[in-house]
């Protein structure tokens, strides 16, 4: 509790860490847009473009000094979605050019295969605690589900044919890799940039909105204060929880009706404390001369360095080259 981290920042000294946050965020947006610009139809040139994006991302990860495994962990929450999209691409989309890659396989939804699948899922749920490579194990279990449908036709009441076509497989892989690249790039941003820097960068990027009277500096100040107070409030909550536990509250074992009063006994004090803190903070800020909407100077002024220009120029050229290849060749 005492040294919890907000966000995912991993300290380091690489050039990606030192890059100006505004440049990093703008580059990220540009790169994401250009990845979406690559058409999905799967011609050779598009594949080469995507492949070089992938290699470039890998290069970025290696040069940032952040372990590849850590970056790939960002894929974990969307793994299911990813598998689902790829499977739908391969199984359901009808290709325009029917260039088969394989024979036609017949899968059976049958009494035997359904029982086997249920048994396998139970087995998977029980054993997954002891398996170290959880993601690989999950992939394996998806494959097993289809293998079972293929191998057990007995007592069938529904069957379907699947043929792998070049185009659908390409599409599947294409979507897979573009999502992987997107996730890796965004997690690289959060890994190499502190939340405060992201906030400053956001203020820098959104600066033009000031001309249409959007109070950008106030909004970013609010965000940074909120982030700053998350750990403080957690510590306070911990204290109140202990105090109420000393008064006989048992947060783990209690009936639903008791639980409601117990949660209230936690919520109200934390509310009171946060209001009090907010008031103290407001006074402290005012005492030090903070006036809403007034011009402020900063301790850390973001300065664009030569390396930032170079990086941004690099990104611009990558993006324009992609656009040229996709639309004009």
């Amino acid at each position: 509790m005492n040294n919890m981290t907000i966000g995912q920042y991993i300290p380091g000294q690489s050039w990606l860490h030192k890059l100006d946050p505004r440049v990093k965020m703008l580059s990220l947006i540009l790169l994401l847009v250009s990845i979406f610009l690559i058409p999905i139809q799967g011609s050779r040139i598009d594949l080469i473009i995507l492949g070089s994006y992938f290699i470039g991302t890998m290069f970025l990860v290696v040069s940032s000094g952040i372990p590849l495994l850590k970056v790939l962990q960002g894929l974990r929450p969307i793994l299911f979605l990813l598998m689902f999209t790829v499977l739908i691409q391969i199984l359901l989309i009808q290709p325009t050019q029917r260039v088969p890659l394989s024979d036609t396989y017949t899968f059976y939804v049958s009494l035997t295969s359904i029982t086997a699948i249920i048994l396998w899922i139970v087995f998977y749920q029980v054993t997954k605690k002891w398996i170290k490579f959880k993601v690989l194990y999950f992939l394996l279990s998806v494959i097993v589900v289809f293998a079972l449908q293929y191998a057990l036709p007995f007592g069938s009441f529904f069957q379907y044919d699947v043929t792998l076509y070049e185009e659908t497989v390409f599409r599947g892989l294409f979507i897979f890799f573009s999502i992987v690249i997107i996730i890796m790039l965004t997690s690289l941003l959060t890994f190499t940039t502190m939340t405060t820097d992201i906030n400053d960068g956001l203020e820098g990027i959104l600066f033009p909105l000031k001309w249409i009277k959007v109070p950008v500096d106030v909004l970013t100040m609010m965000v940074s204060l909120t982030l700053r107070y998350i750990p403080t409030l957690l510590i306070e909550t911990d204290k109140i929880m202990k105090a109420q536990a000393s008064r006989g509250v048992d947060f783990k074992e209690a009936s639903l009706k008791d639980k409601i009063t117990q949660v209230i006994s936690l919520l109200i004090p934390v509310f009171v404390i946060s209001f009090k803190r907010a008031e103290d903070l407001a006074n402290a800020m005012e005492v030090r001369g903070y006036v809403i909407g007034q011009k402020r100077t900063k301790i850390d002024v973001l300065k664009i360095k030569t390396s930032d220009y170079l990086a941004f120029f690099g990104v611009i050229s990558i993006v324009s080259f992609t656009i040229y290849l996709v639309f004009f060749s």
Partner: protein, 282 residues
């Protein structure tokens, strides 16, 4: 036997780092008749120590036995029974108030312990009157009374659980001098009536000097002193413990140095005055 610590070690575990908060503590506390003052530098492990006494924290090594319940234990222990017997009042306890009326808030603890309905109200009213909260205030919101009164109500909330041992973490902190004196007098009154053992964490040596019967000094997670206050204040290495003498002792020491009045261990101002008067008559 009330509370017994055997070779207790505790570490706070953070992300990659560990912080040793208690190291091999051995300690025995009787359930009746003691007022134990706990002092030591900030971060010396005082609060961690007392949180072991009602099972909020459990030792990494060694055991804590509280009224014959041994922690940590492999079997499931009803921590609630333990928390009933050892009441813990945290720093700034007024922040734990939440109910709509003072009486209801004090009743919260006994209700959690599933006491009988008719007992709950009686016990809560007793607890409130023992901390000096007037019956006219019972239906007031606990957020509309003064800070000192809020603290009393919070202490009553713990007292209403009828603990055998009461632990107070810096009870006088943030109160004005009169409020401090009143609060300590009130606690002493309760101690006199019930003889319950009280543990008081404090930085205020005047408070501890006046009321404590036994002193515990913590430094960097270790217990460096355990004994009577006379023994503590007459130690040669006392100032190395980052503590200060009570003001009455400071006065007597100064008089001893300057005009060689014989030094005597006295902890309250009236006692000092009486002693000096007696001395001048001789």
């Amino acid at each position: 036997m009330g509370i017994q610590f055997k070779e207790v070690t505790f570490r706070y575990k953070g992300f990659k780092t560990e912080y040793q908060a208690l190291e091999f503590i051995n300690l025995e506390i009787a359930s009746k008749g003691e007022i134990i003052g706990i002092c030591g530098h900030t971060g010396s492990g005082k609060s961690t120590l007392v949180q072991h006494m009602n099972g909020l924290l459990q030792a990494d090594q060694g055991t804590v036995s509280v009224f014959d319940i041994v922690l940590p234990s492999k079997k499931k222990v009803k921590l609630n029974t333990l928390r009933r017997r050892v009441g813990l009042v945290f720093q700034f306890p007024e922040y734990q108030l939440f109910e709509e009326s003072i009486l209801k808030d004090v009743m919260f603890g006994p209700k959690n312990l599933k006491m009988k309905q008719e007992d709950i109200e009686r016990i809560s009213k007793e607890a409130l009157s023992s901390v000096g909260i007037d019956a006219t205030l019972y239906d007031q919101s606990p957020f509309r009374i003064s800070g000192g009164q809020m603290r009393r109500v919070a202490i009553a909330g713990v007292l209403a659980m009828q603990p055998d041992i009461l632990i107070l973490d810096e009870p006088t902190r943030g109160l004005d001098p009169v409020g401090q004196k009143d609060l300590m007098e009130m606690l002493y009154q309760i101690h006199q009536e019930t003889q319950m053992t009280m543990l008081i964490i404090s930085h205020d040596m005047d408070v501890l000097g006046q009321y404590a019967t036994r002193m515990l000094v913590m430094k960097e997670g270790k217990k460096i002193f355990d004994g009577s206050k006379d023994a503590l204040f007459s130690r040669d290495d006392f100032l190395d413990m980052n503590l200060d003498y009570p003001s009455s002792l400071k006065v007597l020491k100064h008089l001893h140095q300057e005009i060689s009045i014989p030094f005597k261990m006295l902890y309250t101002i009236p006692e000092v005055i009486a002693y000096l008067k007696e001395f001048s008559h001789e």
